[in-house]
Point group: C2
Chain length 199, copies 2
Amino acid sequence: MSASPLLEQLIESLRVLPGVGQKTAQRMAYHLLERARDGGKRLSKALDDAMREIGHCELCRDFSEKPQCPICASASRDASLLCAVESPSDLLAIEQATGYRGRYFVLQGRLSPLDGIGPEELGLDQLEDRLSEGEVSEMIIATNPTVEGEATAHFLSQMARRHGVKPTRLAHGVPLGGELEYVDRSTIAHAFSSRRAVE
Amino acid sequence: MSASPLLEQLIESLRVLPGVGQKTAQRMAYHLLERARDGGKRLSKALDDAMREIGHCELCRDFSEKPQCPICASASRDASLLCAVESPSDLLAIEQATGYRGRYFVLQGRLSPLDGIGPEELGLDQLEDRLSEGEVSEMIIATNPTVEGEATAHFLSQMARRHGVKPTRLAHGVPLGGELEYVDRSTIAHAFSSRRAVE
């Protein structure tokens, strides 16, 4: 029994966070009460605002509180490049790692017929409309290198070709800083067969 | 750059939680937005309620949204037993592990002169008043077995004796399920010298 029903409720509610169990939730609740009440109030406000206001950009389907996200609304982005990603976190990873100045399309998933996720769920009719407008010349397909991600990539590359758009895919190979000894066999096989001439 | 200032703000605010860095905060925010918006709203409400309403019990100093916490207010608790703990989480650990039916006193810290934590900060005058009322016959001192916790325990046991209250301390020894090989030397030394006759 905890001394406070509100505390009990806070601990229970914190468990909605991924990877947070009973013990971690307790530790978080006590930490906030003992040392970070202002931070806790700010978090409450930020959560409420975000859950209430954030929807999807009407063009790229990324999270956005406005009808169009800043990337789609920006005139300085190259409209001839379109990068298709599975999720907003993949988009963020590419934004943070690269100097890419084109636009995005967020599938919010991958083709997975067994889970009932088909072309409609991924907004592929919307993507097809966009490709048919003729502004896009290259579609960078950045789905994950999983079975379903590859199937989605195959589907997307066929769609791109139908509209005269050049499909490209992220290179596979040995990660930087990785040691060959610890890299999985299929990645090594792929990197070996895709070897490049040293200039 | 993230696509949404509100999302940015949510990620930043989540970092107030202990052990949550930038990457984990991102994962949490995307999880809430993609799969748990209702849970996120509930968490926002629970945080706001807790940060605003939870204060300290006037008797035991545990967290409570009422002037007296349920344990202090309960008539079925034995008023002759008082257990002094450092923090509300220690109280919770004892409540969950034992069948203890006495009352508590939460120090909200331990004596630490170098950090400016003296008897006033721990509410020890309030504790002394309580001991002088004559209702308590045994004080179980459950401070942590650290240098500062032991110093606090020594201070508390002298206070108890001044008021004719019997001070007791949790037993030290080898933890259940522990293997001797992995138990630290001072614990083994303590357990060895405190060995008990087998009945």
